[in-house]
């Protein structure tokens, strides 16, 4: 799916003396202005704008409860999209996130119900996630096939396993503190904010640091930008991709655990809406599907935007179906402003 990144034509022109902007058609001028000034900033602008719109259109929105509910929604999506960001920067994409969410939901609810110890359950979930992510990544490398497909294949396998395991099961249990961590009225110690929001905040900082300051992080960008050059430049291609997908699976597993806390009952399909929502959050944030560019701070904005949009639409009375419809239009509209690809002519 990802082509060789269309490197802007290095036609050898030395950065010469700044010239007067040549005359162009009006539409070009507008597009350039928007692109130059708004492209990067748009996601950051949309977050407060949407918030204000929500306050206007939804009575009672400006309350602690609503805001926290919004943040919980954003945290869940943001965490699920964390790994997706990394895999997309690496030039791949992870379609197994909803399946892993469902599986970890099942594992937790079922095993906790059977009185397994919590640390063991978490360990099992983590190991399962790492294995799943590793298979997606390694099979992509070995089979010379885009990770979109291998992760998709894994998602079929994993969701099948989750469904099979939970077949007919209606009983499940989760620890109380977990439920509290995703509840709008939950507390983290003395602070009246549910734990998931803190978890997201910490994870965000770690993610941004990871991508900027670690070797694997830089190699992820290189891998996404130009896999051939990466291999020659001694980037550990396979390892980097494995790390990306392992992170993605772990984040998905974490979200599955939180979802279990949310509902308390085993639901292997709980992650299904996230099939495309994580990609949406990443894209709306402005990270390019081409790989090699972007960052998690953008996805944070993207998750907030998607959460706000969903809340706004529900608050104004639109059904889930309508939200989906609107989301579709929005994805197209937003990406048209800052996600456009180069013309063929420009790639020559």
């Amino acid at each position: 799916m990802t082509d060789q990144s269309p490197i802007a034509p290095a036609d050898g022109s030395e950065p010469g003396p700044a010239a007067r902007q040549p005359t162009r058609s009006t539409s070009e001028i507008v597009t350039r202005f928007v692109a130059a000034n708004f492209t990067d900033a748009l996601p950051y602008i949309l977050v407060p704008v949407l918030f204000i719109l929500s306050v206007i259109f939804i009575p009672g929105y400006f309350s602690k409860l609503s805001i926290i509910s919004l943040l919980i929604l954003a945290s869940l999506l943001g965490l699920a999209s964390l790994g997706q960001t990394v895999t997309i920067i690496a030039g791949g994409i992870d379609l197994s996130i909803p399946a892993v969410i469902g599986l970890s939901d099942i594992i937790l609810t079922q095993l906790y119900y059977k009185h397994w110890s919590l640390p063991v359950i978490f360990l099992l979930i983590a190991v399962a996630a790492i294995v799943i992510g590793t298979i997606s990544a390694v099979s992509s490398v070995l089979l010379h096939v885009h990770s979109l497909i291998t992760s998709f294949g894994m998602s079929l396998v994993v969701s099948g396993v989750a469904l099979e395991w939970s077949n007919g099961a209606v009983n499940g249990a989760v620890p109380g503190w977990l439920t509290s961590s995703v509840s709008a009225i939950g507390h983290t110690g003395p602070i009246p904010i549910p734990a998931i929001i803190f978890v997201w905040a910490v994870a965000s900082v770690l993610a941004v640091a990871f991508l900027r300051l670690t070797r694997v992080g830089r190699e992820t960008y290189a891998l996404g930008a130009n896999p051939v050059a990466a291999r020659l430049a001694r980037v550990r291609s396979t390892w980097t991709l494995v790390v990306a997908f392992a992170i993605s699976a772990l984040c998905a597993a974490m979200v599955g655990v939180f979802f279990a806390g949310y509902s308390g009952i085993p639901d292997p399909t709980v992650g299904v809406p996230y099939f495309f929502l994580t990609i949406t959050a990443v894209l709306i944030g402005g990270t390019s599907l081409l790989g090699g560019r972007g960052g998690y701070q953008r996805t944070v904005m993207g998750a907030l935007i998607v959460a706000e949009l969903t809340t706004l639409l529900v608050g104004v009375g639109f059904s889930a179906s309508f939200q989906e419809l609107a989301l579709g239009i929005l994805v197209i509209a937003l990406t048209s402003t800052y996600g456009r690809e180069l013309k063929v002519a420009a790639k020559i």
């Binding site: 950065p15 830089r218 960008y221 020559i348």
Partner: protein, 522 residues
Amino acid sequence: MSSADEASRLVMEDLSRSFGETRALNAATLRVRPSEIHSLVGENGSGKSTLIKILSGVLRPDSGTLVWEGEARHLGSPRSAQGMGIATVFQETLIVPEMTVRDNIYLGTDGLFRYGHRKGDEIAGARQALSDLGMDGLDLDRPMWTLSLAERQLTTVARAIIRPWRLLVLDEATSALDAQQRDCLFDYLRLARSQGRSVLFTSHRMDEVLGLADRITVLRQGATVATMGASEASRRGILGHMSGHEAHADAVVVAETEPRRGAAVQQSPRRPVLRVAELTLRAASKPISVEVKAGEILGLAGLEGQGQVGFVECLCGLRRPVDGQVLALGDNGETHIVRSYRGANRLGIRYVPRDRRYEGLFGPLSVFDNFAITLWGDLNRLGVLKRQQARKSFAGFAESSRLVSASPNRAISILSGGNQQKVLLGRWIAMRPRVLVVNDPLRGVDHNTKEELYGLFRGLATDGVAIIFLSTEIAELLTLTDQIAVFHEGSLVAMLPTEMSSDTDVVAAMFGDDKQHGSADD
């Protein structure tokens, strides 16, 4: 219109084009006459490529006029340019690898659903075109990916000439061809000229420009600085126009007649760092045994496809030879066999790939990231990067290579080709190689940058780095290297000491003893 214009088939006047802040063309002009072979020369950054892209319909100028055969025209797309009789062969060899030779040649001649020519006509036309270019007998149904680089390039030329053209634009179209193929192409061009058609070509090779052109237009920094007839032109004069310094032109000439490197440098005998033992590249080739010492610059030459690239790949572990070994020799005399790319790197053998766009550049990343990517393996503490050190390393390199760059955090795509190449070289040089293997590193790099990089290489050699330098330009090899290894059909046929060899000696060796050698392929 002036009488000069009236005589011209093509007049491009006051052409300007910018990319963001960069002004690629600044009121450039070009006039091409009927029955003329016209050469367009200029360094990278002079606007040549932009002008050609405008002429071929790929780009539109911001301002200026284009008059074709007496009428002012706008070229909206490559298709419309072709419709007017302008056929272009681009610098990059553009092919569809999966499709056949015939399909590649006739690509674009059809409507969306209807063929432009009958199949029989396509076959005849393709055969004729290939024959004109000296490639008789090439199977039209072969998939393009099975062809050598030279055959591919000639196929793109064939694609251009099967259309009824009156102006043929060739942008560095001979870069992959060997001398014989080039001569065949030039014969075709001269024949076309005698039929009244026009040719516009660009080349970095002065001998081609002086040997083929009737008139020459020189571009510098986007503007036309000179137009001259070939009889008035001299190498020195052209270079002078290109760089804008008369003195520089002198220096260039002097550099080329300077005593070769080998004679000038006096050094204590250095120990060998690399040994090639009975290396066989292909089934039918003779084993190669060579030793390279520290501080030595070994040049590799040969016609296209004769094995020097394969040799280079064996040296750096990217390819396994049919037989034989590459050995890295340590300071204490110990030997290590090169078994893989990773292994070669561990032994201090660094490889700079040929194609920077596909094998070197990380387009969206910054200049600094492109430089430092190889360093992170060593400059990290438990995975966390030691950025300060890397930045120092970059600053040091930028200075020593006179890298022109705004800020290291900007995208590398804004740099000129020459500066990009510097960054990519820096990536490997910063790793302190014992052996540096470079695959035609200065191809497509402008003259000034080349001189700077020659200095860089010489400096490295003085520091004790062994350099294996593959180049397609003989003059470059003669200036820079101590010895030149010439390849022919996968074997090493000559080892020429540079200070005692001339251009002709190298070319003679490149052709081997086999006088009936056809177009170079493997």
